[in-house]
Symmetry: D3
Subunit: 132 residues, 6 copies
């Protein structure tokens, strides 16, 4: 009933996303290609920082209740150093604005965040080992 | 393509929900904790009965098309004695208000209801055996 | 900025609704006519009472954030004797499920409810005068 | 309560739309400008005709319940010769897919269509007078 | 994280849909039965062709972000001869109207389309073998 | 057709909002009161600044397409010093995530922003006159 989160690693998410985006873009519809470009550019540093923009992407994905979009923005946010306390303040705004209907997505978001932290932990250990 | 309902028992749904709710609440964001409290209190007996309120929760979940929320409220409704005829009248309102886009969720709702009835049947048999 | 509620009476709402429904139905699309029939029938007494069904229609309209639908169901609910305490428990469920994005609609709903009560008050006085 | 349609002509709609689009585009955010271009290009003749694409835009606007978008696409559809029977088949699909929550928008759509036909009638008469 | 598309064939989708629709309809709620009829009739040839109507169903399903509905309409569209170029113009309109939140559904839609084409390819080969 | 923005000042918006919020809260439903408190608290300084949180509220309101909520958060954002360039980057994210269906709300948002800037301009002049 619940979206099965355990069986699909962040790595699988990345691979599927990359494979299908590739197929979409190679199909040759120029306007779809331009849309994808606009989508990437929207989160780049500008008057607002990339970090703030990724938080905006995350909260939008929560209130619109799209698990894949939430996962994507959590990964991006974690990459630019968003802390747990910051994440939960965004989650709270998503919850208050979007209502209890957001809760099942919040559960999966928290699981995704855990996976992100675990992956980063492994990476850090590995690179500190290499650094010796 | 269809959400796999067979592979996940109601029991798994309950466990995942409980485990993740626990993680969310132990993280220490006080406002999220308060929101969860408000969410629980909304369905308690008051001017309207718990039963009516659970039906309100169910129809809201249907028109907003959230499978996990539908599952949760079906379980609650079944617990307070909602009959099949009553369930299908709620389903019909959800369908008319929300449109055919609700149909895939209706299919899974009917499957969930079946599982609920099966579980209750087993419980009743067991307790009547014990009662002897 | 806020939807202008003061300048349009419940009477105007009813007239516009009736006039346009008439135009839609006289156009001759049989399927639309059938949809309108299904919509009316959904709230009739059955396994669940008309009152409960109107409450279901109201909460659905709130979480989907449609002012006209909210107005319609408030009128219907008031007609079948829903009390203020009951109305506000439905409003609360709409708010908790749908989130703060529902609040502007809640403001207009409360104004509509006030107008309903005022109209009913006038009707009662008039009919009690006539009854003498 | 109902969206006031009588007091605002299609001409006012066009003027407000044009004035504000101009302000948005002159502000200088390049990505918003590109988005507006993609939006215009999406409805141009291609593998599918402009007419089919405008019908797609209309039904999307109905199920997403945006009055201004519905108005815009009705004008475009009327311009490329969509008949009343065709309009009502699109309205029916919008209604079945999106549910009764679409009905208030359908009422306003039918009023907008009437205004479009009236304006076109006046134009035709005028140009046939000029043609003599 | 991503909806698992590989493990569920179009055939499984059809079977689950058929099985559950059967259960819903045999339950005996007459209004739900009528709604299902209206839903089927909405896409039949009329003033607009079945093909155009299926495209309308597809774009509606995309902007409302329902995977099962998208899958259903892709199958129907493929059956009536919609080409890849036409599909991607519908996808583009869905994307522009509904925004980047549609992208995860677009990925799964493209995968579904691939499966449809593969199945049709096998059918054609088989029937050309039989024809010898 | 377009939401009439010219005839309603920001001042009227504030007054209506305040009047109706007062009526809602004085009605005595404790849970609704608590929800309103949670809603206010969500935007206070914490791990994230009030400014960032108001931007999160604004983008959420855009993708969920609620004019009143957009107006409210634009006023709040302007109060904490959000610049035009920053506003338009938020608008762009709202547009890309939510799609062209957001455009009518963007038009009204830009008009609201103009009104905010005009009001602030008047205030500044007045206070600098007083300061002499």
């Amino acid at each position: 009933m619940s979206h099965d989160h355990n069986g699909t690693s962040l790595e699988e998410f990345r691979k599927y996303r990359q494979k299908m985006n590739h197929k979409i873009l190679e199909q040759g519809n120029l306007q779809i290609k331009r849309f994808f470009n606009l989508d990437s550019q929207a989160y780049e540093d500008g008057a607002l920082s990339k970090k703030t923009k990724e938080l905006l992407g995350l909260v939008s994905s929560m209130v619109l209740r799209c698990d894949d979009c939430i996962t994507y923005h959590i990964i991006q946010c974690a990459d630019v150093g968003v802390t747990d306390a910051e994440f939960f303040e965004v989650f709270n705004i998503g919850l208050v604005v979007g209502g209890s209907i957001v809760i099942p997505h919040l559960r999966r978001a928290v699981e995704t965040l855990e996976e992100c932290r675990a992956v980063t932990g492994i990476k850090k250990e590995t690179s500190s080992l290499k650094a010796r």
